[in-house]
Symmetry: C2
Subunit: 105 residues, 2 copies
Amino acid sequence: MTKEQLGFRALADPTRRSILRMLATQDMTIAEVAENFEMTRAAVKKHLLILNEGNLITVETDGRSRRNALNADGLKHLVDWFSFFDTFWDDKLLTLKTEIEKDVQ
Amino acid sequence: MTKEQLGFRALADPTRRSILRMLATQDMTIAEVAENFEMTRAAVKKHLLILNEGNLITVETDGRSRRNALNADGLKHLVDWFSFFDTFWDDKLLTLKTEIEKDVQ
DNA sequence: TTGACATAGTACCATTTGGTTTCATATATA
DNA sequence: TATATATGAAACCAAATGGTACTATGTCAA
């Protein structure tokens, strides 16, 4: 799978998007993340793995616990994907502008 | 499913992201889209349905054919989701700046 | 060193997903 | 009207996904 695909796949689940928002506030262990969901730690761990594969979080072992942290780079890379459509949006705006001018005349 | 979920779900497949990029260039019928992929028209139609459910394309019946067009609004809505992390990015940049200043001194 | 704690790993299950095939419907057009 | 064209829809299948339960491993601390 491409990096892009791993990233978008990671975003496709609401639990994982929710985890990302939590990690924006503070780094968390698996157990801490799991406290916020009504599912087993094992399930949360799977989500964290997919987020890590998608390059959206970093994981750092610290003794017997692991700290999961948001990875800004990975998120930015996905935002960049949308920039492909910038031209399209500009065109649409131009079309809109033209239509408005027609109306005015 | 929420609108947001339908949108991210639609982006999670590489074929669908590819279709979106095609439609940025020009509107296309199902058959025209299908010409670009090595899969059946039925499969492409399913992808277009999911893109439509995700509010990423609009579909307009024109006689016996249907024109699929990119929906800028839906795409923009998804881009907006990422803006939640703007603060996080700013913080990271600030941290980086602080670290650099430490190095300089 | 023993026990508790935090995570890792595996097996398993139900549902969703991405694809196919086949058949049906609606609309241009000769 | 008959026919070709464009799409709709349903049944079906293999693989991926999101979850569980259970067991194993590594690490801190009394």
